[in-house]
Each structure stands twice: as structure tokens, then as C-alpha cells.
Amino acid sequence: MSTDTRAAITIDRHSASGKDVRTTKSTAGDKVVGGVSHVVMVIWSLIVILPMLWTLIGSFKTTKEIFKSPFGLPANWNFDNYVSAWVDNNFGGMFLNTVIVVGVSLVLVMVLGAMCAYVLARFSLPGSKVIYYLMLAGLTFPVFLAIVPLFMILQNMQLLNTLAGLIVTYVAFALPFTVFFLFSFFKSLPYEIQEAAYVDGASEWRTFFQVMLPMAKPGMAAVAIMNFLGLWNQFLLPISLNADKDNYVLSQGMAAYASSAGYALDFGQMFAAVMITIIPVLIVYILFQRQLQGSVSQGTSK
């Protein structure tokens, strides 16, 4: 849309200052609309927050206490549920697997994605349009279409049920998004600086790593956050390609634990497992809340 690129005056700034130059009194209609809006938003906030609160408090309670009163506080606060989830149900091992798989994939996809986007955006090579459209196809088609052949490819490469196999598929499927986002970013960097690096005798490699990549830091950060969340939350790839219990990642471990127990589920331990899974993403969310909402907003101007 053409209007998206115009300079926008943020509406929020005016409400944040709180002072109205023209001190007109609010009409009755204003109060009703404002009041209704607040009531609706508060109710929605409660619908979002209460399940989370139930989980957090529940993770410290025994299952008996959870059923007795949903929001009652535990008789004694302890980490029993966490210990048994972490040790007895091996969520500790899965946590480690998840950190390894997500950590390595994230570094690889950021480096490979940035390199690929840089070449596509700044060198006019024959065939780069084709590569660009292939990436678009990779982004559009459902992963389910690929899942069976992918299973066979990994099996033939002896990578099925290994962390390495999971890492390489994570990288491959996160690559299109990474390249797309960074493509427009590298495109917008000034050409003069790249030329200056060449004139100073820098090789292509050095120009990228010492000159261009540092300039792309804001874009890299935004994509890295999105990729971290996406990879940490990945579910289909691990349950199809990683059936070895020792190599389980958290998301599939949670599902396996929940379905093995059914209605006889130990709620307290399940809550502790949920907390173990979501604490890393919550930390990332709280730390990078602004950047994250910023990159969502950026998507609207495309």
C-alpha cells in the first residue's frame, strides 16, 4: 500500500503525554467507549494471563492441591515438581538437546542466510532471480508435502534420529525466511562503502565480514530473535525425523509425556515441564519485546 511508507505520526505519543492543550471535558459517549474498551481489554488480558498463572502456581503444587482449588497457593513452596520433571522424566536431557540443536542451527542459519542474502542482493549473477523464486516456493509450500521424502533423504544419509540431522533440516527450512528478510536489508546498505573497501584492497571475504556484516547488525538481530522462537517451538520436524528418545527435544518430549499419561497426567509435573520449556522464550520475549513488536510492524510495510 502506498500510504504505508509515508512518515507516520504515532498516535500513542499523544496519549502518553496525557495533556490536552484544549481542555475540553470528555463527553458521556467518550466515557462509555473508553470504559467499554477497557473492560473488554481487561477481560481479554485475564483470559491470556489466568492459564499462565495457573501453570506457574501449579508447578509448585501437588496434583491433589491443583484439583482442590485452582488458584490456591501451595502449602509449601518447593521445587519437587521441577526436580522430578528434570531428572526422572529427563526434561533436563531434552533441555540440553534443545539448546544444542537450536543454538547450532541458529548460528548456522544466520551465517549462511546472511551470506546468501548478501550475494543475491548485491551481485548481479545470472540465475539469482531463479534462486529468489525457489526460496519463495520454499516459504509457501506446506512442510507436510516434503515430510515423507525428507524422512527418506535423512535415512539415506544416515542422519535420521540424530541431532545433526535435525540441525541440518532446521537450517534448511529456516533459510528462506532468513534470506528474504536480510535480502531487503543488505539491498538498502550504501554501495560506496563496499566500493571503498575494494579500493583499500580488501578481498570479497573481508569486505563481507569486516565491513558489510557489522552494518547489518540491526537486521540480523531482528531475524535471529524470530528464528530463535521459531526453532525453539518447532514440533513437526522433530517428531517425524527424530524418534530416538535420547535425542528428544523439549516440544516433542512434552507431547510424548502428555499423551503417554492421558487423563492420569501428573498435573504438577506437567506444569513444571511447561515452565522449563517456556522460560527461555519468555526471557527472550521480555528482553527483546520492543524489537520483536518492531519487526512484526516492519512486516506491514512490505
Binding site: S15, G18, S37, W54, S124, I147, I278
Partner: protein, 315 residues
Amino acid sequence: MSPRLGGRKLTFDFISFIAVFLLLPLAIFLIFVISPFVQALYYAMTNWTGFSPNMDFVGLDNYVRLFNDSTFKQAMLNNVVLALIVPLITIVIALVFASMITVGGPSHGQVRGLRGSSFYRVISFFPYVIPAIVIAILWSMIYAPTGLLNGALGALGIDTGQFAWLGDANTAMGATIFVIVWSMVGFYMILFIAAIKGIPAETLEAARIDGAGRFRTVTSILLPQMRDNVQTAYIYLGIMALDAFVYMAGLNSTGGPGNSTLVMSQYLFRTAFEKGQFGLATAMGVVLAVLTLLFAALIIGVFRLIGGKDEGGRA
């Protein structure tokens, strides 16, 4: 003259640079993403079981089989229902919330948002970062006979008698749709707020001076300006609903009572990895992909029709 590529001399530096920077990521992408997509088209026309290396070419038999399979048709119908309902509800709620937050303030002076809007934004966005499988498992516990929902209703004096929300064919689908909407509203609310903020303040002021109330401002100014954003949201949400695998795996991994929440992706997964009918499962994947493309084309077409009507109204 020395050989050149893309306007550059073919030095060792440049060749090694292209090999590593372009060919390495491209190779990974082609092997693990593009080649499975292409192979799928072939496997879908075989009776391959995955356990033996032998397979026969059966042409379109798998598709004929699928469309005579009442369970698959039920799953496809469930997917279609999800793809029509989930985006609609999510987008309407997200639009209402986004409008409340951005233009819900007093009607005098400048167009202003609601007080405390950043608090609502941070809270609403929250479910987006939580793994979908965790959301689904958590809600399966909330819906459980002894879960939070029955407990909360009991506290309000409504005795539900330990009703199993996901265990009854009448409520299972509704309960499932609610969970998906719950997890998606915040993200699209933020997206729409960003879109509204991209509308020039002068436009809003002009509408106000012309005497437009809040409702009129939303319907006549905001919505037409946000058509592209709503269209994108519709397509993304629809694609997500045509998959829906993660939510279903956490809420009702067996497909729900009477297959009332079974979706194609679940059936595909079961056919491939439990029954080992790889050929048939891949054919389901092709059907899913075709439906996805049809859905996207349909939405783009519908929005073009709506868009054509008042194109002149766009500045």
C-alpha cells in the same frame, strides 16, 4: 580480457567467495527443501510402503483412493471449516482490539488511543511466543474434566458435572477453534496496530473534523487503508488452519470423538509414520498443498473484488 561473472573478474577470491557464500547455502536448501517437494510429486503416484525399496507406479490411484476414503473426506472437511472460521474470528477480534487501542480515546482534540495500551499490547502478544504444542497441551488440561474451566464454572455456580470439553463431539471443534484464536489474536492485533499507525494522522484528523465518529472512522478510514494487511493476515491464518497439526496433536492426538477434530495433516502423519503407507501419505500432502494454493488464490481474488469497488476512495 579475463573471464568475468556478474561484472567481476574471476579471481580465486571471487570464486571461493561465491562457492561458499552462495553455493553452500543453496545446496542445503535444494537438498533438504526443494528436492523433497519435487520427489513428493512422484512418490504420490506410487504404492510405496517405505519398508521395501520396491514400488510400483500407480498413477492417480492414490488420489482416487483418498476421495473414496470417508475418514480423509471428514478430515478435509474439518480443515475447510477451520480455514474459513479461524481467520474470520481471529481477524475480527484483532481488528476490534486494535481499533479500541488506537482510536478508543476521547473524541475531542487529537485522535488518541486508549490509556495503558502498551500494557494490553505486551500481554496480548504473549501467547505468540509460547510454543504451540505447549499451548495445546495446556488447554487440554484446562478443558479436562477436572481442569481449570470446569473448576472456574463451578466457582461461578455453574455445575458442569466434570464435562469433558474435548471428549464430546459437539464441543470438541469449538473448543479447539477457541484455542487457536486465543494463540493468534495478539500477534495480529500488533500487526493491525502497526498498520493503523502507518495511516497519516492528518487523514484521521480530517475525518474527525468532517464529523466522523469512532465507528465511522474505523469503517470508512481504517478498514479501507488496511485492506492489504487484512488480506495477508487472512492468507497466513488460513494456511496455518489448513495445517493445524500442532494444535491437534496437543489437544486431541487421536482425532477427537468421532474424528470430529481430525485434520488432514494428522491423518497424513498417521498414514506415513504409523501405517508406513508412504505413497498414499504423500498424495495427501499434494492435496494439502493444492488446497493451500487454492485458498490463497481465493482470498486474493475475493479481496481484489472488494478492492475494486472503492479503489477511487484510496488517496
